[in-house]
């Protein structure tokens, strides 16, 4: 029956579209709707709530915390993406050398990634404790610092501390994706290059890196998305403090919604977070398309 085939195609096409509309489109649309309404505990069950136009967005933009937290978020995400990919790539290359036990050790690294974020947060809070924490103990033992560093209680340092913790937490994920992409590069290319007299540096630059490009792009966008969501780790480490120094948009949005019960403003903040993720995803998709055309 040739006629049934297009019909079946439409059915299969409709399923993912319906899924996307239902599980991705609806929450986004609902969040946008809430962000232009006054939503509190009393009317959260109702659908028609007072329309306030862009008031919530004005509140958000006028909020001192928000401006600081927006900058924090960009720094936090930026450093995480660069570091997780850089370190992940280095570690993946290291384990690709295939020494005895490499596979096992690489697997072991993944353990940290499987821990719940709240547990990792508690662990790092302990590591970064000023008086009895491991970080200061080691640094002072090696005489790298004289006085203890106030990792989590100094507003100038707190963001760095939570960034370090999140890099440690997320890096194995990047590493394993990059490692998988590494194995896909045909060995013959390296052999041929070696015969032509290419050194390790040249082989990395002209073979490994171009072959990894799509994978690195995918990892970059995934890390951006995961890092944008990473609020439980920060919640456990600092609750966003001191003075919002380590706060990020999703946590601030959570605080506005579930601590202050101001769901409209919380949603407006959510919209900003969505915009950032959406922009990154768009750049990724466009670049990948470009790659395919070029390739």
């Amino acid at each position: 029956m040739p006629g049934s085939q297009p019909a079946l195609l439409y059915v299969f096409l409709a399923l993912p579209v319906l899924y996307l509309v239902g599980f991705v489109g609806f929450p986004i649309a609902y969040n946008l709707m809430m962000s232009v309404q006054e939503v509190n505990l009393g009317n959260i069950t109702e659908f028609a709530r007072p329309f306030v136009g862009l008031d919530n967005y004005r509140t958000v933009l006028a909020d001192e915390s928000f401006r600081k937290v927006l900058v924090n978020t960009l720094l936090f995400v930026g450093f995480n993406v660069v570091a997780q990919i850089g370190i992940g790539l280095a570690v993946a290359l290291f384990f690709a050398q295939g020494f005895p036990g490499a596979g096992f050790l690489r697997g072991l690294l993944l353990c940290s990634w499987m821990l719940p974020a709240l547990v990792v947060g508690a662990l790092w809070k302990w590591i970064f404790a000023t008086e009895y924490g491991v970080a200061n103990y080691v640094l002072q033992g090696l005489q790298l610092t004289g006085s203890p560093i106030h990792w989590l209680s100094d507003p100038a340092v707190a963001l760095t501390s939570v960034t370090l913790a999140n890099i440690w937490f997320g890096m194995p994920f990047s590493m394993i994706l990059i490692a998988a992409a590494l194995t896909a590069i045909p060995k013959e290319q390296y052999e041929a290059a070696s015969l032509d007299g290419a050194g390790a540096g040249a082989r990395f630059w002209y073979i490994t890196l171009p072959a990894l490009r799509p994978a690195l792009l995918a990892v970059a966008s995934l890390v951006t998305i995961y890092t944008m969501r990473a609020f439980d780790l920060i919640f456990a480490m600092t609750q966003g403090g001191p003075l919002d120094a380590s706060n990020v948009l999703p946590l601030l949005s959570y605080q506005f919604s579930f601590n202050q019960f101001d769901f409209g403003t919380g949603s407006a903040m959510g919209s900003f977070a969505f915009l950032i993720v959406f922009a990154v995803a768009l750049i990724y998709v466009r670049t990948l398309k470009h790659e395919e055309v070029a390739g």
Partner: protein
């Protein structure tokens, strides 16, 4: 088939955060279920930090539990916005839940516009924990704990020992409600008030904290320590004295390897205002509960002095004045907390307490990190709180 048909008991769904098996709620549920055939309590443990989030989700989806224990400062937000069942009529008819037998603070935390939206389940407050061994080692008399701010400061100075990572005093100034809970006693002792944060009394209280951190008497990490972490540093011997609540007693008993004792919170000499913060859980029945009558029956059951007596086993004080634990565990601690409860003040009640709290948190953090002088930080907080209080005064 003749014979009596047993009526099917109605299910009353209950959410609570009490994980300790010895908490009175577990025995209470069991006895209540066995004592009658009308209702069955179906309990679900929701971790304390998620309780509000879960309840909001339940309200938003229109399917709420029948009974919830809610942290008392958020009750006003829920009741003022019409999400709780008004219990006024039921309380009026009740023979166990009688408003005049409750401590003022706990009872006030369940009221909104003269209507009763919550019944206190338990109460707690803060006291001064101190390490008697360290007192002796430094030549201080453990039988004479500090009674005033000056004595507290002197003792803390004598007790601190930077070489051993020992601080004189520990408290929580974290950017969360817990920090405010620990700061309010000092604010009130200084003669300050939440609605007058720009007054010099408030600045004195905050300066007292900020200076202790600046002078190395308290750790800079207090800005990031939650209450249980403050107790951790006390138990680990890194703080000689600390603010702690009675809920920590089971842990202190199991884990502290030294002689710990409790004292009433020191007052400010000259002012002599005894003050403490009030904590604890309230029973609330969300609006739309299917079994509100059953829920209230259980509230009455749990409010019986016989059950409330059991609360002290996990460091929960009874919110009623007519309950005295006859033979308490930790008798010294019990006497201190029972006395301290008399001066414990409710936070709010105010529907926008979380906003007020956030403004105070910021001021605390600004002063302690040195970002702003205490007076300036509090003046900014007062400015933020002003429009909120203009709409609904405290």
């Amino acid at each position: 088939m003749a014979g009596p048909v047993a009526a099917q008991p109605k299910t009353v769904s209950l959410w609570h955060p009490f994980t300790l098996e010895t908490d009175m709620i577990h025995g209470g549920i069991k006895t209540f279920n066995e004592s009658q055939n009308d209702y069955r309590i179906d309990a679900r443990i929701v971790p304390a930090p998620q309780m509000v989030t879960e309840l909001i989700k339940a309200i938003a989806s229109g399917s709420v539990p029948d009974l919830v224990t809610l942290d008392n400062p958020v009750v006003a937000s829920f009741s003022a916005q019409g999400t709780l069942t008004d219990l006024t009529e039921r309380v009026a008819k009740s023979t166990t839940v009688k408003p005049d037998v409750y401590f003022k603070g706990p009872w006030a935390s369940g009221l909104w516009k003269q209507r009763i939206f919550a019944v206190p389940r338990d109460a707690n407050t803060l006291a001064l924990c101190y390490n008697a061994d360290m007192f002796k080692a430094k030549g201080l008399d453990p039988d004479k704990p500090p009674k005033t701010w000056t004595e507290l400061l002197d003792a803390a100075k004598a007790l601190k020992d930077p070489a051993k990572n020992v601080y004189g005093f520990g408290f929580s100034a974290v950017q969360a409600e817990e920090g405010v809970f620990q700061f309010l006693p000092f604010l009130h002792q200084a003669g300050g008030a939440v609605d007058k944060l720009d007054a010099p009394e408030a600045a004195e209280a905050l300066a007292f904290w900020a200076d202790m951190v600046k002078d190395g008497i308290a750790s800079r990490d207090v800005i990031n320590q939650r209450q249980y972490e403050v107790t951790n540093t006390f138990m680990a011997g890194n703080a000689a004295m600390a603010l702690c609540g009675p809920w920590e007693l089971p842990r202190l008993q199991n884990e502290a390897k030294f002689e710990w004792r409790l004292a009433l919170l020191p007052v400010k000499a000259g002012k002599d205002i005894a003050a403490s913060a009030l904590g604890g859980y309230n029973w609330v029945v969300p609006k739309g509960a299917k079994s509100a009558d059953g829920a209230f029956r259980f509230i009455e059951f749990m409010s019986d002095p016989k059950i409330l007596n059991e609360g002290w086993k996990t460091g929960r004080l009874a919110p009623r004045t007519d309950v005295t634990v006859a033979d308490p565990l930790w008798p010294q601690a019990y006497a201190i907390y029972r006395k301290q409860l008399e001066s414990a003040r409710a936070r709010g009640p105010h529907p926008q307490w979380p906003d007020i709290s956030r403004a105070i948190q910021m001021a605390m953090q600004e002063a302690i990190t040195g970002a702003k002088p205490p007076a300036a930080a509090l003046a900014d907080a007062a400015r933020k709180i002003k429009p909120i209080l203009a709409k609904t005064p405290l």
